[in-house]
Symmetry: C2
Subunit: 300 residues, 2 copies
Amino acid sequence: MAIARVAIVGLGLIGSSIARAVKDRLPQVAVTGYDASADVRDVARALGLCDTVADDPVAAVAEADLVIFAVPVGGMADAARAAAAGLRGGVIVSDVGSSKAGVGAALRAALPGHVVIPAHPVAGTENSGPAAGFASLFDGRWCIVTPDADAPAAAVAALTGFWEALGAKVDVMDAAHHDMVLAVTSHLPHLIAYTIVGTASELEEVTESEVIKYSAGGFRDFTRIAASDPVMWRDVFLANKDAVLATLQRFNEDLTVLQQAIRRGDAAKLEDWFTRTRAIRRSIIAEGQDDPAPDFGRRH
Amino acid sequence: MAIARVAIVGLGLIGSSIARAVKDRLPQVAVTGYDASADVRDVARALGLCDTVADDPVAAVAEADLVIFAVPVGGMADAARAAAAGLRGGVIVSDVGSSKAGVGAALRAALPGHVVIPAHPVAGTENSGPAAGFASLFDGRWCIVTPDADAPAAAVAALTGFWEALGAKVDVMDAAHHDMVLAVTSHLPHLIAYTIVGTASELEEVTESEVIKYSAGGFRDFTRIAASDPVMWRDVFLANKDAVLATLQRFNEDLTVLQQAIRRGDAAKLEDWFTRTRAIRRSIIAEGQDDPAPDFGRRH
């Protein structure tokens, strides 16, 4: 299946990065964009993100071979229903949401009879909006595709080829497994970061000004992902509730063990734990999933 | 008080960075170094970190106006006792430990009659050892000095001037307050990062390979500080136990509140929390305490 035109519904960080990456890597593919916000559409036009920015979702998707919904996961069903009348037969419907089982079900319910193949590029920054995107965002990052058992193989191959052309590496897995994996590698880290940044900003004994000044001791690392889009993340936690709560329970068990080791002065247990965690970062760098420079390559 | 010679005991990331910064910013000041490890001394000599690398601590500190102990906080007392016989009258004794009340007490007990002014440069990277240091590590970072009430003002001024010459901004505060502030801005973040990296690597449902591959979803941010020196951090948690456990309790309360919001589907509470945390990062960047580039300036 050849993809000659892609429609992107939602032109935030991820949607606008897809548009840029298509223009950069797949110049023969036409890009139509749409966003529910007129302001965002104006920015997208000013930036020249797409060949066409449509003012309504039905027109945006009308001639597309691939439609990608790039909105918060709680808004997928509404976005799909709003565009449904414009979808042609044979179109591949996909998305970029951080949870997959619920999003897949919502899209299939909203678009009966259409081929829905959910996907999730595991990439992003803490910034939001159409100006925050860039064409190389997906380079070397993984995109996880979660087709149902009855998804047409040609459509899965076309979507896989599309993401590979944008620079991503593609894995195919079951939606439920995706949701458990991402609960660990993305959702729990965000929840923990949001928590600790909130905790630090509301202590009586330490002022917010002190937290900011001395943040280079470690705290500042958490503030980056705690600056991510609030609506997007609200929706992720609601959509992937069960897997998030399950991994959170494991985290709480481990934290209690370390808390007890500190209280008891169990030096050996602390040193052993801290030694094992060191190896994981080396593996992430060896896999090309983080910058090998110290401090993430921050300027010093 | 003029500082003509500084002795650095412990030539790891921080000690070696001080040596480099002195040679770079204070070329008129002589630097003598010592490390308990013969291998580290060899590396320090090969790198030319110091004017002299001594083979025993007594010789290392013999002519110094300022002696800085840059060893894990649990090793301060032993390092001080080993050097004590070499200290001349009028020397300023300081350190770089991440906890201050306990370290100050340990140094004063080990070195009766000497002027001890603890200090803590809030700077570092996840790397360890003499090759990991660099001269600009302290540029624009805060160094917290925690003198006792009876510390000579001239000595406090000399130590403050030394750190400012190395590029740092200096704050003076009570040691107990330092320990509470750093529990929040540094120790708790490290404990949380160590915990989650350990949790993620030991789940049955998700393989370590999956955790590594999909770490760009947020997890990789935690692995940097969870790759910090295990012995250093073991000692910090043992030395600052009370403040760490107190702030951990606040964190646990907040995490329980967010856990309940997820379980109950309380969208408004989640969105409100995530919106407030976003502002903190902007303040940290405005204060010059983090890189304004997206993703910490990682290469994309």
